[in-house]
Amino acid sequence: MDDIKIVLTPKQKAGSWLGSFGLIAILLIIFGFFSLTLRGTYFNWGNIKNMVSFSSYVGIGAIGMTFCIMTGNFDISIGSMLALAGVLGASAALKLGGIVGVIVTIVVAALLGLLNGLFVTKLKIPAFITTLGMLFIFRALAYIYTNNNPQYITDRFWIFLGNGSFLGLPFPIFIMGLCYLIAFFMLRKAPFGRYILAVGTNSRAASLSGINVENVKILVFTLIGVFVGVSAVLNGSMLGAANPGMMGDGYEFQVITAVVLGGTALAGGSGSLGGTLLAALIVVFLKTGMSNAQVNSYWQQVATGVVLIVAVSLNKLKFWLLGQAQ
């Protein structure tokens, strides 16, 4: 490449900086603020480990969702997916052991995702609606299968995955790291990543360029299932149970919030896995900080909503400064 000097206006410089470091800055500000005000209770290694470990719940599930939203699609059924996969896996574990249970959970979730993908591509029902219907259906199936009894998880292997430590770090952190590494790899190095962005930007153009749009979409929905399955495994482990009614309650909104907060546009075509991860951490760090500060619960709710709006506004500010059309 020749040396083309790109001169940015001051506005654009600010925007570029915001884009690269915006989320990290927010995370550090939140962490710094609570560390200064709460000192020992917040700013200690154990708490940091705890917060990062619990970020894995939303963080891992959000990986698949990031891909999905990048292609311009949507999946609102993941909470129910989590529950159904969780209870099936847990009940399998009771009879066949933890390792089988874990595998069953992930496989079931992947199959459910595949089902969503097939409905969306083959039957041409819009993603939002398909997954809205599945939200009811999966949840109902979870209730029916377990006759509304929570499935307890006691297997040593399974319990270890969510609660154990290795080299001083909680195990979920490793699993989350591994998932993100695999995901980064798929996005950056594998052709699959380019396909996702192409489909999201303009699916007709992508199709004309020879990309099998349908297969990409099916794969993306299946991936949502895979990562939701991993989340279900960790969640079931940490809670020691898979409760058909409560597992994954509100999960879809937490995940979608993390993805959008992380900078992935709902229209599709652009996105950031790193952003998703940072967003998941930001939400947990913020909530934990406010909780520890004994902030009135009602004010916590208000604050959470306001912070969300502010954070996304900053994202908009970034685009405005860069002079890009959003």
């Binding site: 409905f119 039957l123 819009p126 219907g133 009602y298 709710q301 208000v302």
Partner: protein
């Protein structure tokens, strides 16, 4: 096939209702009396009214997830203000406050450019917190019992008021959406925002008014429910937003925007009520009721998908549809 689908477009959801009614009438003797039927429609009216507003929002290309919190806000404002301002005064303030919330939603979505999802989701959380702060976590009892008549009385001795409110609001919203310029503009901005903008439409104004309408419809239901229970409830209707969304979508309003089907929404609201109410009469477990809703949704939109496919290709082929 084309003929069938064209017919379905007009009366699809209606057919579902008729089919379900026949089924329920055969299977449950309690279903057949007028009281029960009116009760089912009444219980459907709460979701339907808000779904009218939601239909507008979806037609304009967005949606509003804050409706259940608007209900709660209305409820607590009324309960706190009735002692000093009386019925009319407190209702007016509550509805105005809700419209202001809708205005905020609209501004954040149009001027600041935040997606409807994040805006309304955040607003939901903020409003719920605000409602709890207003009452300090309590449920505030309304001691003026006559307030109950707003939501609980019956016109002509047998027709529950909520059904009348639903009919009136349906008429108003229908006229706005289908008979006024504004309504056409809403559809235009939903189906192709760029084109609408270039035609000179003030998208910001249009969408903001839409979100005010949604909040307004949610507030009305908040008034009705508060009147019925005589309690200001900060945590009113948890999970109701999903119900409303389902009704709007089941009614045939396309999420792509641009086409709002208020008639469909009306019938969908009644239909959903039939599922929950009717199946309860039959002692069908809640889980199967949820299953029924999900399957109906998929079925209804599968047909919708077929319709779009066949009718669009038929149009392209030049067949008159």
């Amino acid at each position: 096939m084309v003929k069938f689908l064209k017919l379905y477009e007009k009366i699809g959801i209606f057919i579902l209702i008729v089919a379900a009614s026949i089924f329920l009438a055969i299977v449950s003797p309690n279903f057949r009396n007028m009281d029960t039927i009116l009760s089912i429609i009444m219980q459907g009216s709460y979701g339907a009214i808000i779904a009218f507003g939601m239909t507008f929002a979806i037609t304009s290309g967005g949606f509003d997830l804050s409706v259940e919190a608007v209900m709660g806000l209305t409820s607590v404002i009324i309960a706190m203000l009735i002692p000093s301002l009386g019925f009319a005064g407190s209702i007016i303030i509550a509805v105005l406050a809700s419209c202001f919330v809708g205005f905020l939603n609209g501004i954040l979505i149009t001027k600041v450019g935040i997606s409807p999802l994040i805006t309304t989701l955040s607003m939901q959380v903020i409003l719920r917190g605000a409602s709890l702060i207003i009452t300090n976590g309590r449920q505030v009892v309304i001691s003026q019992k006559s307030f109950m008549s707003i939501g609980a009385s019956k016109a002509f001795g047998f027709l529950p008021m909520p059904i009348i409110y639903m009919a009136v609001l349906f008429a108003i919203f229908y006229i706005i959406l289908n008979q006024t310029t504004f309504g056409r503009h809403v559809a235009a901005s939903g189906s192709n925002e760029q084109a609408a903008k270039m035609s000179g439409l003030n998208i910001s104004l249009i969408k903001t008014v839409v979100y005010i309408l949604v909040a307004f419809s949610a507030s009305i239901v908040g008034v009705i429910r508060t009147s019925q229970t005589l309690i200001g409830i900060p945590t009113m209707a948890p999970g109701f937003t999903l119900n409303v969304l389902t009704i709007a979508i089941l009614g045939g309003t396309s999420l792509a925007g641009g086409r709002g089907n208020l008639i469909g929404t009306l019938f969908a609201g009644i239909f959903i009520s039939m599922i929950y109410y009717g199946l309860n009469l039959l002692n069908v477990q809640i889980f199967y009721q949820m299953l029924a809703v999900g399957i109906t949704l998929l079925f209804a939109l599968f047909i919708d998908g077929l319709r779009m496919k066949y009718l669009e290709t038929a149009k392209i082929k030049g067949i008159r549809v």
